[in-house]
Amino acid sequence: MATKPTQDLDQKTLVIEDTESALNAPVRVKEAHPIIYPLSLPETEERKATPAVGQSASRPDARLHGLGQTKYIDDIKFPNMIYAKVLRSAKAHAKIISIDTSEAEAMPGVYATLTGKEIPTNTFGPTFQDQPVLSDTVVRHRGDGVAAVAAVSEQVAQEALKKIKVVYEDLPVILDPEEALKDEVLIHPPKSNIYTSKVIKKGDVEKGLAESDHIFTNRYKTQFQEHVPIEPHASIALWDGNGRVTLWSSLGRITLGREDMSRTLNLPQSKIRMIGTIVGGNFGGKNEITNEPILALLSKKTGRPVKCTYTREDEFVSSTIRHPFIMDFTTGVNKEGKILARKIKMILDGGAYCSWTGTTIGKGSILAAGPYNIDNLHVESYAVYTNKTTTGAMRGFGAPQVCFAYESQMDEIAKTLGIDPLEIRLRNAFREGSLSPTSQTLHSVVVEESLLQAAEAFGWNRS
């Protein structure tokens, strides 16, 4: 029996338009006073104080979070809204021979389907546009979308995905980045798998190593990490009668998101409105468009607002994750523990598409020497494609990886030389005016201050 819940005029009680339910008419319990949209509450002192800077002012958005009133995308509902789901690749590397959506399209409750061929410009990406919105010729990792469905409910859309028939022809799967370096199987032919690299050279590293009293050589490796925003990616698209599309999106970068939309949809930017709602956690994972073009086109096809909320699995497999690094560090020091030379080679597992690898390899390479004065430095880094989840922007862009390496090796050096770990850092740390690995003069430098303040707070006794 179908029922249609509506709100009565004062928005206080639910009315069920259904005779049987009407007998169980909603009863408002006077003493409880539950509220939906309260109140004007006093602001905290910090918000009212001048000067404003330095105040631990509370957040107006936090008040709404606490009341449960913040509208994240998934909380927004429009009349006649329908729901989209994206079918993910069943293969990590394969040619797509055919995609048949007819059976899904014929299902009751399904409004439309979409494949990559229907997307005006089916590529995107912040550095290289090497990623399809929906794969139409090749899938390069299991998170690639191959087709989308819009239906009356998520439940129906989910069932419809099962009716889409995709025929694949297997291609060799390359998972190991060191294997990928050999270029025996190309993931984006005819391009090499090594899709970006970076070199930093300062001084004469071989000379510096030759002059060193001790040389340390270590390899460090890191893993894939997921951002885990507690809010999964979500967006809603509404294509209107003027041919203008509005997107409500959990994207953290709407201006550039609009450029991506304009490019993929082949639509003037003036015809696109991106609204960034309150985002339930980003950490770098929500810095690129994902399914926004798909929803826009499904809305255009169906004349309805279309929403898609990622499942937690979508979040893991199809949004970006943190780059694993393989890092070879060779460091020469003198007897006092002063670093004379450091030679670094790094391989970044780039996953299936470039995404924000350019920034990651750049920051990773520049930062890899650590916050230390090193006259002789050579850093060489390569990013390679593999048939795994795309690695992209994530809190720190390569810095947590290289910090793990340079700080682990610092302790190795300290241990061998019998120097306290705090002391060896103080001996090498940047000072105001130090030259960075790119020979930039640094200002407002407080490495030493942070080391000493932390040691004091911790109660660090130098060994």
Partner: protein, 333 residues
């Protein structure tokens, strides 16, 4: 037996994009009652950016945080912004806001100057007043000045501006150049307890001392650091996406992808280094990403201090630590 150890790690981290332009624009409108509206194209992604940006505008205008309403995140109404990425919001968008607010404030100064019988550059905006530098008793309430500027002078106090951190291209052969305009620095020290029979690592305490230039909102800075550390603890000990031999993720869910819960987080002592960056908005730099940078390194060094094993691949799961302990014991025997 449980063995304790301590480990230290320091780091540096840049603000903004690597060389590439990453501008922000902003518009500040002073209302006739002395409150203001800030338009920014960035998006609130949880870090408290909008509150901090509002504080920056308020500071330049000499008004309170609550006097500024922030409009954000709509390409139809808000100006260009590179977005919530690369720890750039406070610094880059903040600098754009300072400039926009200064432009609006200049209109107020010009409107107030004849009334106070001084030149515009002899005025300052403080405590909701436009006052004469060095003579704070000679002032007009900002509301009066804003009203005067709009209704008498006919020039509403609206300012727009943009900012992009100045950089110098890196040489393709040597990487030499100036990829960023500023950097932040930090140290974290971890204390761990390692069970030498199971390899289990419990992080007992982390002291984190970070630089963010002048903190605009110390409470929100602390919150960023605490959250970044939790991401670092997970990175150090638990979190890893695993793939099978066919490239399929094995653990794409929160049951089997192990991020820290409230029971896994250590006691935190978070502090800020006293600092001021003259290139930043009111001396501020940024803090978002660096908070997660040194944690894993500090924990690995603490494990080494506790049980003498060097973990060279993350994460240091109990099994990995135990395997290393058993290997060490075998070598020593």
């Amino acid at each position: 037996m449980k063995k304790t150890g301590k480990g230290i790690a320091c780091m540096w981290y840049p603000i903004g994009f690597t060389v590439m332009a990453n501008p922000s624009a902003a518009t500040v409108k002073v209302n006739t009652d002395g409150t203001a509206t800030l338009l920014t194209g960035t998006v609130e992604t949880g870090q408290g950016a909008l509150t901090v940006l509002g504080q920056i505008a308020a500071e330049t205008l000499g008004i309170a945080t609550d006097d500024v309403h922030v409009v954000s995140g709509d390409t139809d109404t808000t100006p260009m912004d590179t977005g919530a990425i690369a720890s750039r919001t406070t610094y880059v968008t903040g600098n754009a806001i300072v400039r926009a607010a200064e432009a609006a404030r200049q209109i107020l100064f010009e409107a107030a100057a004849p009334l106070l019988n001084v030149k515009p550059d002899q005025l300052e905006a403080r405590d909701k007043k436009i006052q004469v530098l060095g003579f704070p008793s000679r002032f007009l309430p900002i509301s009066k000045v804003a009203q005067h500027a709009e209704t008498n002078v006919g020039k509403p106090a609206i300012g727009s501006s943009s900012y992009n951190p100045p950089t110098v291209e890196m040489d393709p052969e040597t990487g030499q150049g100036k990829p960023f305009n500023t950097y932040v620095y930090a140290t974290q020290i971890a204390e761990v307890e390692v069970d030498d029979e199971t390899g289990e690592v419990v992080v007992k305490r982390i002291v984190a001392v970070h630089d963010c230039g002048q903190p605009i909102n110390p409470m929100l800075v602390e919150g960023q650091i605490q959250g970044g550390i939790s991401m670092g603890v997970g990175y150090a000990l638990q979190e890893e996406i695993l793939f099978d031999s066919q490239g399929k993720q094995i653990n794409p869910n929160l049951t089997n992808y192990i991020m820290p819960t409230s029971l896994d987080m250590p006691e935190l002592d978070v502090q800020l280094v006293d600092n001021y960056d003259p290139t930043g908005p009111h001396g501020a730099k940024g803090v978002g990403e660096p908070t997660a940078v040194p944690t894993a390194a500090a924990i690995m060094n603490a494990i080494y201090d506790a049980v003498g094993v060097r973990i060279t691949t993350l994460p240091a799961t109990a099994e990995k630590v135990m395997t290393a302990i058993l290997e060490k014991n075998a070598q020593e025997a």
